[in-house]
């Protein structure tokens, strides 16, 4: 009896291995429920559109075979401990080609170490908190299998402070939520205010908790201090409570902050109080290029929506898959370590919906996290909430993106 069991088990083992060689197995992780869900589901759905496009076209040619993507989905519920469990599970798989996802910085901090230990390649998107990459430079890791495709908070905080200075403000209030994301965002903003010449005077720095609905006290302090703008780092529902609170006490100044201000649960719950809110974006849901138009139409049709819940997450998920696929093609292997090496040295440019990625990553340099960060300042634009949609905050950005797209085509 025992022998029969053993043979069945062994047979099963071989069966899965044989199967694995026929597909590229990747995991998509993120919060598909809860307050961060708009980002998680958009990222997942954007990635799945890319995967469908690749699979329909036959897959990726590795050796003599055409391999298709096989997807594992894991919901981390934006909880650090769930993220750690999922990362452990993924790290224990021998045939996993890579991981794409994670929305919450805390989840990255809790889980990525398990993947790094096993050398499993991961592209973080759209978690933007600085700490998810700086943890590796601080630990002076020599070889890193974690990459990121998201405008990290360093870039975003710089843009937020820059925007306030460009608008000739001198006094600002700073609000942040008490999560890892909020606190690290606050640190980035403080750092950037110092770097950009201490032009902005911070009249009050206040925090709020996840689930808080009444922000009167924090906002009154901002109002009494004479704040001309509120710089903020938080997540959808609480951001909406802040916008509604500002309207209530008559604090008519712009809200400028992290890209989470484009989340649908901020836009819906703040309604017209959210108008004029500014945040850095990597993708605006406007069909300004043919590639963007195709992507937006595909998303709307596939998921039967009129608006992408988080366009930035969806576009980044989509581009992450194409970058990953390019690495698989170049590595000519589904081995996660070979894919990592290919990612660090992508020979061919990758046509994405955000931009055309030319060598997005390079070999990991512990002194410079940007070696594993895809985004640079000029790929990010300022978005603005306008009647339930995110539009370009500065028209110059819009024109720049259109001309970039046409110039790339011209070169071809």
């Amino acid at each position: 009896m025992k022998r029969v069991l053993l043979t069945t088990l062994l047979a099963g083992l071989f069966a899965t291995q044989a199967y694995a060689a026929d597909s590229i197995k990747i995991a998509i992780t993120g919060p598909f429920s809860g307050g961060s869900a708009p980002m998680g589901t958009s990222m997942r759905d954007g990635a799945k559109i890319a995967i469908a496009e690749i699979n329909v076209a036959g897959g990726i040619k590795v050796g003599a075979k055409m391999l298709k993507f096989e997807v594992l989905e894991r919901d981390d519920e934006a909880k650090n401990e769930r993220g750690a469990l999922i990362a452990q599970e993924l790290a224990s798989m021998n045939d996993l080609a890579g991981v794409i996802g994670t929305v919450n910085t805390g989840v990255c901090l809790a889980g990525d170490k398990h993947l790094q230990e096993k050398g499993i390649t991961k592209i973080i998107t759209p978690a933007a908190g600085s700490a998810s990459m700086t943890q590796w430079s601080k630990a002076k890791v020599k070889d890193l299998s974690i990459f990121r495709l998201a405008a990290h908070d360093g870039i975003q905080a710089a843009m937020v402070v820059e925007e306030a200075i460009n608008r000739k403000y001198t006094k600002v209030a700073m609000l942040y939520d008490s999560t890892n994301y909020g606190v690290s965002g606050r640190d980035d903003m403080v750092e950037q205010i110092r770097k950009q010449g201490n032009i902005l005077q911070v009249v009050t720095t206040d925090k709020f908790n996840i689930g808080d609905k009444d922000m009167t006290a924090q906002l009154l302090r901002a109002k009494n201090g004479g704040a001309q703008a509120v710089l903020i780092w938080g997540i959808g529902p609480e951001l909406a409570a802040v916008a509604n609170g500002m309207a209530k006490i008559g604090l008519k100044v712009p809200l400028i902050g992290g890209w989470t201000l484009s989340m649908s649960n901020f836009i819906d719950n703040s309604a017209k109080n959210g108008n004029g809110t500014l945040m850095p974006q990597t993708f605006i849901e406007e069909p300004i290029t043919p590639k963007a138009k195709n992507f937006i139409t595909a998303y709307h049709k596939t998921y039967n929506v009129k608006r992408i819940p988080s366009p930035v997450s969806a576009a980044q998920g989509y581009d992450a898959v194409f970058i990953f696929a390019a690495a698989v093609k170049q590595a000519q292997s589904t081995d996660t370590k070979k894919i990592k090496l290919a990612l660090e040295d992508l020979k061919e440019p990758v046509q994405g919906v955000i931009t055309t990625w030319k060598k997005p990553f390079s070999s990991w340099d512990p002194a410079n996290e940007e070696s594993h960060e895809a985004f640079r300042r000029d790929q990010v634009v300022m978005g603005m909430v306008q009647d339930g949609h995110v539009v370009f905050g500065n028209d110059a950005d819009r024109k720049r993106l259109i001309s970039n797209a046409t110039s790339v085509k011209g070169k071809k």
Partner: protein
Amino acid sequence: MNQALIQLLVSGALMGLVYALVAYGFQLTYATSKSINFGQGELVMLSAFFSLTLTNLGLPYYLMIPGGLLFGVVAGLFVERAGVRLALEQKSEGWILMTIILGLFGVSAAENIWGRDDRPFPTPIPTEPMQFFGISITPLEISVALGVFMIMVIIELFKRKTLLGKAFAAVSADRDAAELMGISATRTIMLSYGLSGLVAALAGILVSPITTVGPTMASALVLKAFSVAVVAGLESGFGVVIVGLFLGSLESLTSFYVGSGWREAPGLVLLILALAVRPTGIFGKAVIRKV
């Protein structure tokens, strides 16, 4: 007095009234049966979701309210029948666990039926702030205050002026004696749970436009409400209003003058003080038990 202070007091007091309304739901059932529905917060949430569904089906606001309230009553009766009645008949404390379990069940059900997202709750009441001597109040907030006071006055009048209402007091005082006088204790307790469900539903409908609707919307609320109920004493209906107003304002003031991180502190300090100094609550009556 400066305007910021008054604005803080007003905003805090309004939150406090919401705590009071949930606490009042605790107080209603405790008065008759010495039992509490620990899933009161989940009743608030479920009723809010149900009302949202009615609104999405196209029902106008004034028809949605009775629908939502009816749902609350039915849910309250269900809790009494499924979680409380048997435990009380056996004089056991099983209702504590049962009501918590029913609450958890409610959260799971809501997550599966309506999803885990926070959603806006449409309301015809304007949310534009109005100015009173430099203080901003939205009509929505005024509707919350009015709603809380109205339902409490109606229920208190019912308890004091009608025969059925007096049965509440009788069952509360001595269940067995009340039974001997021809009052059905079971029915009185059922009624109190129904009313408690009604109060929960009203709380859900009133606060949802401000707080948004989500499966965890009431989890923070219910802890505060419990503090209010314990500090006020579970015997007094109007006591919870006063303590609720006080706690709400205190929270608001603390987070302004001490720091936003200290917001939760006064509620806990108040709770500890009350338990240490006056365990029956500020407005509670010390009962001498004769053996």
